[in-house]
């Protein structure tokens, strides 16, 4: 096993910044804060430039410029005010204006105008998310929960279905608060809590795995890419 330390400057910068970030584990210090502030500043600049060139320019600026320059739509038709998707339309000026209205928050007296844009954003997203959630998380999940409790010739599948059904019903009844959890309902709720605790335990295990994965990723970078230990 030998060292093959990287000669790439970008790798060195990344490695040093990683070590700066790790130094917080010992105690708070100036090099950690330098890495933290650098990250925040670079991220903000990167996001602004990225969004400008990948969203504003191709989706708003270029279509509007072509529209007002008299370019024709893909169907060979005059492009202004013809609402066919895929063509360049002046209607894009509307989201453009709404986007600009968001910045009125910077100017005290007319700040209320930004609410119009926010109303559109909230309305559109509420509509999209509601239908998506209803279809995918409600209807499809109810369908998926309706399983046969007896699977002929497959004892494991039968047992699995029974455990699933008991777990689902007892967990649901745990969240039934219209009656005090005493007697039969209390016993069922306690069983439901056991199932919920199993799911919390699984969730915790997966969370630990995710966090350790991040640490492993950085160590792999330091050991393999930076130090070239092999």
């Amino acid at each position: 096993m030998s060292l093959h330390v990287s000669t790439d400057l970008s790798v060195w910068i990344a490695a040093l910044l990683t070590l700066f970030a790790f130094s917080f584990l010992y105690k708070d210090n100036p090099v950690y804060r330098f890495a933290e502030h650098l990250f925040v500043g670079v991220s903000a600049g990167y996001y602004i430039i990225l969004n400008f060139w990948t969203v504003i320019v191709p989706n708003l600026w270029e279509p509007l410029v072509k529209t007002f320059a008299g370019a024709r739509g893909s169907g060979g038709l005059p492009s202004l005010f013809q609402a066919r998707l895929g063509d360049y339309r002046v209607f894009l000026a509307i989201p453009g204006i709404l986007g600009l209205l968001l910045f009125t928050r910077l100017f005290g007296k007319i700040g209320w105008l930004s609410r119009w844009a926010l109303a559109v954003i909230i309305g559109v997203y509420a509509g999209i998310r509601t239908t998506g959630t209803a279809q995918a998380d409600f209807v499809a999940q109810v369908q998926g929960s309706l399983q046969p409790l007896w699977v002929a010739g497959n004892l494991a599948a039968t047992l699995n279905a029974v455990v699933f059904m008991v777990g689902m019903l007892t967990s649901l009844l745990f969240f039934f608060y219209s009656r005090e959890h005493k007697g039969t309902l209390g016993a069922i709720s306690k069983l439901g809590v056991l199932f919920l605790m199993v799911s919390f335990g699984a969730g915790y295990g997966y969370t630990v795995m995710s966090r350790i994965s991040l640490l492993i990723g950085r160590f792999q970078f330091l050991i393999e890419d930076w130090l070239g230990l092999r």
């Binding site: 990948t54 998310r129 998506g132 995918a136 991040l214 160590f219 050991i223 393999e224």
Partner: protein, 275 residues
């Protein structure tokens, strides 16, 4: 000072040090702990294996560098499997810090296939802001949502996009997701509306959220975190970053379990002493 008081007052930096040694050690000297393939991972692989060779596949890589250790190994193996099947791959990114990392990862794999050409066999459409709204818009036309690709080409001018209209052009969606927007939104907005078959690779922290989708058939296969990526690499006979990291992962989990046990023992001992 009693043993449990000493444990209770233990400087947590000792735990950090032991964790660092347990993670670094196996990466330098891999013990080669066994790794078993779970059914959801096998299903992920088999679903891709079953699609006809030469199909055009939609692959959404929705993550950024913060999820790199879990997401990149999945992306590499899935993209490699698709190119080996001569599939054409259309890639999208819905996380704003993701396109650069995704582009580098795809280029790295594409270099293994000298006959595969950008714009013909695969295309990176890059990032688009809008989350769920982008997914809905793609249903009305992929090129409408992504007029230009990541490299600045007009999307409609690319040969790979000639036969791509909307979701009906794809037999499968491969979602590699680090959180929101990601697999959950693809299931809600695309799988349930357009009935596009889906497989997903997700971060471990979010994996429990997706098992109901797997159980209901909304997902055909699931990779959960680094373990899922490692199992997938094992099926494909690869020795990737996830496989190399799994030894460290296992030992780190043992330390966490020991810490939890010791913490409970200390609390139990304190209660007993008070009584």
């Amino acid at each position: 000072m009693s043993w449990h008081t000493a444990l209770e007052r233990l400087d947590r930096r000792w735990i950090f040090l032991v964790m660092a040694l347990l993670v670094a050690g196996p990466l330098i000297f891999p013990p080669g702990l066994p790794l078993h393939v779970s059914p959801p991972v096998q299903a992920f692989h088999d679903t891709i294996a079953r699609i006809p060779n030469g199909s055009t596949i939609l692959m959404s890589c929705d993550y950024d560098p913060s999820a790199r250790p879990e997401m990149v190994p999945m992306t590499r193996t899935a993209f490699r499997q698709l190119l080996q099947k001569d599939c054409k791959v259309v890639i999208t990114v819905l996380w704003n810090a993701g396109p650069g990392l995704v582009e580098a990862t795809l280029n790295d794999i594409a270099r293994e296939f000298p006959s595969k050409r950008y714009g013909v066999d695969w295309v990176n459409l890059g990032y688009k802001a809008g989350d769920d709204a982008v997914m809905v818009l793609m249903g009305q036309g992929i090129a409408n949502a992504f007029p230009r690709d990541y490299r600045g080409n007009q999307t409609r001018s690319l040969p790979i996009m000639r036969d791509v209209r909307d979701y009906s052009s794809f037999p499968l969606l491969v979602s590699i997701s680090g959180g929101f927007p990601g697999t959950k939104e693809w299931v809600q907005q695309v799988q349930s509306r357009f009935h596009l078959p889906m497989v997903a690779g997700v971060t471990a922290v979010s994996a429990p959220e997706y098992y109901p989708y797997l159980q209901s058939g909304q997902l055909r296969g699931l990779l959960g975190g680094m373990a899922g990526a490692g199992e997938y690499e094992k099926i494909r006979g690869e020795n990737g970053a996830a496989t190399r990291g799994m030894d460290a992962q296992s030992l780190a989990h043992v330390l966490v379990a020991v810490c939890i046990l010791l913490g409970n023992v200390v609390q139990w001992a304190k209660r007993r002493e008070r009584a």
